[in-house]
């Protein structure tokens, strides 16, 4: 009964659209805030969803960002259309990045996105093939 999905908020994230980048995660943050969820949970979700969204913009051919609310947890999920991550362990290493020079000039590409997403999660799932990458990050709600 606790693992019944209550609602899903979904955002279409286009590849290389740096103008819209960040809008999905910021909308998630505002929604959770107005619902009255505690600030530390919101902060974790904000960091995780922002990094996930930016990765879709920079590294993927585009995909979806979802925020799933359950009675006692929140999942952030990304699904994209490829090209996939060749070596997941390597991608999870702090400082590893394949970002191009032009992307780095925009301030991205420190290789800290995935490690931070993992750090702020209670559960971290990732699967990747050439057809696409699937990431699911869980944050448990705090008992007040």
């Amino acid at each position: 009964m606790t693992d019944k999905l209550l609602i899903r908020y979904s955002y279409n994230i286009a590849a290389n659209d740096f103008i819209a980048a960040g809008k999905g995660s910021s909308s998630i943050k505002n929604t959770l805030k107005s619902m009255g969820i505690d600030a530390s949970t919101i902060r974790r979700i904000a960091i995780i969803s922002y990094e996930a969204e930016i990765n879709l913009v920079i590294h993927s051919y585009g995909g979806m960002l979802h925020c799933d609310l359950y009675e006692n947890k929140i999942d952030i999920i990304t699904e994209d259309k490829g090209p996939g991550i060749e070596n997941i362990d390597l991608a999870l290493t702090e400082g590893y990045s394949t970002a191009t020079e032009s992307v780095r000039e925009l301030g991205f590409g420190a290789g800290m996105g995935l490690p931070n997403m993992k750090k702020y999660s209670d559960d971290f799932d990732i699967a990747s093939s050439r057809e696409g990458t699937f990431i699911k990050i869980t944050v448990l709600l705090q008992e007040v």
Partner: protein, 413 residues
């Protein structure tokens, strides 16, 4: 005694300043007049301060009449720590105390005495309990209520030490009982208050205790009488405690409690930033957060008469030039008092914040978002709510009509 912040409808122009300023969105405009929702109001006094038309006033008591017909055999005035700061430099402490007494009190109790004891209790608790950081002061009733309504996860960080007003009233009452051999109901304790939040702390305290204060007198409603009574005659009195006196000014309680690793934050907006930082886990290495709703602390309360910076300067002057003219009361009894548990308090059942329920929050949010989607998103305030989202919430709660929105009304014509 049912205190609230009163609005003079004649003076209110319906300008929306207070509505936009209110940190808990407790104010709405109904028929072009401001209206405070008491269940959301934390009595911080921001509306009183920002109103350009002085339309807000504390509900003041009919002072002299009250005294004449009062059933009390003994009347005690508690002098709050910002009080002395309202008088010009060089005004004698004893003359201030005496002019207060002349209003009709049998004796005065200086809140700096109890503040000194409360400081020691704060220090003691911080040293005893190491697994809660930071502790947050429970002195400012507006801050405590802000935490209860907007930061429920921080309720555990509150230090739960009774404030000087409460301890002072208790000690003064005991003193009157033993000196004059009186019963509780024969004694009236009157707190001379710098702010409306103290009114609320007396009538509706957060905590499992009854306040020993019977009446709260807004400082500004008696200031004129006091000032007129001040004479330059040379009388003696019981001086305030100097460390305790610091409580009137922001940072004073931490200094008085001998703390070194503390944050003193004042002003509602600043407090909100610091509470966010605590909630985000960024201040776990700080011992104590003294968060006071008013700028510069209690000297900034809306019942004060002079500017907070001037009052602060006046109080610092008194402390620096006190010489031997200070007095600490009951310090020898501190350990006994602390061990007996009189300083500490707990929440009563109804003080606990409502538990967050994701399912209810999702359903409610969906309905509010549906309404919100119909609104223009201008946050113009014309409907009488501070934001479109707040209006959507009001409509959801049946407290407003969707078509109170003038933009929607114009579109549908």
């Amino acid at each position: 005694m049912n205190f609230s912040i009163m609005l003079d409808k004649e003076k209110c122009k319906g300008c929306t300043n207070c509505m936009r300023r209110c940190p808990t969105q407790a104010i709405r405009l109904i028929d072009e007049k401001a209206f405070i929702n008491n269940s959301k109001c934390i009595h911080c006094g921001e509306c009183i301060k920002i109103c350009p038309y002085d339309a807000y006033t504390p509900e003041s008591i009919e002072w002299n009449e009250e005294m004449n017909y009062s059933p009390y055999k003994c009347k005690i005035a508690i002098i709050s720590t910002p009080t002395y700061g309202q008088f010009p430099k060089g005004t004698s402490i004893c003359n201030v105390q005496n002019s207060i007494k002349k209003l009709g009190f049998d004796f005065v109790y200086d809140a700096s005495w109890s503040a000194e004891l409360v400081s020691k209790a704060i220090n003691r608790k911080i040293n005893e309990v190491k697994d809660i950081r930071p502790f947050i002061s429970t002195n400012c009733p507006a801050t405590v209520r802000l935490i209860k309504s907007r930061y429920p996860s921080l309720m555990d960080n509150l230090i739960y030490i009774k404030e000087p007003m409460v301890i002072g009233a208790m000690l003064a009452r005991e003193r009157a009982k033993s000196i004059f051999n009186l019963k509780d109901e024969e004694i009236g304790v009157f707190y001379i208050s710098p702010c409306p939040a103290k009114l609320l702390a007396v009538t509706d305290p957060i905590g499992d205790y009854h306040s020993s204060v019977d009446w709260v007198i807004p400082l500004n409603t008696i200031f004129g009488d006091l000032y007129r009574e001040i004479k330059k005659d040379d009388i003696s009195c019981s001086y305030p405690a100097l460390n305790g006196l610091r409580w009137g000014v922001a940072g004073g309680q931490s200094e008085s409690a001998n703390l070194t690793n503390y944050i003193s934050v004042h002003g509602m907006e600043n407090i909100i930033h610091i509470l966010d930082e605590i909630e985000n886990g960024n201040l776990n290495n700080v011992d104590y957060v003294e968060a006071l709703a008013c700028v510069e602390g209690c000297v900034g309360g809306s019942f004060n008469v002079v500017n907070p910076y001037i009052a602060k300067n006046n109080i610092e002057y008194i402390i620096k030039n006190a010489g031997d003219n200070f007095n600490i009361e009951d310090l020898d009894k501190f350990d006994e008092m602390y061990d007996s548990g009189i300083f500490k308090f707990k929440l009563k059942a109804e003080d606990n914040p409502i538990k967050f329920n994701m399912k209810e929050a999702v359903i409610k949010n969906e309905k509010i978002m549906e309404i919100n989607a119909l609104l223009p998103g201008l946050d113009c305030g014309s409907c009488g709510a501070p934001t479109c989202y707040a209006h959507a919430e009001d409509v959801y709660n049946n407290q407003a009509e969707l078509y109170d929105c003038i933009v929607l009304r114009a579109k549908n014509k």
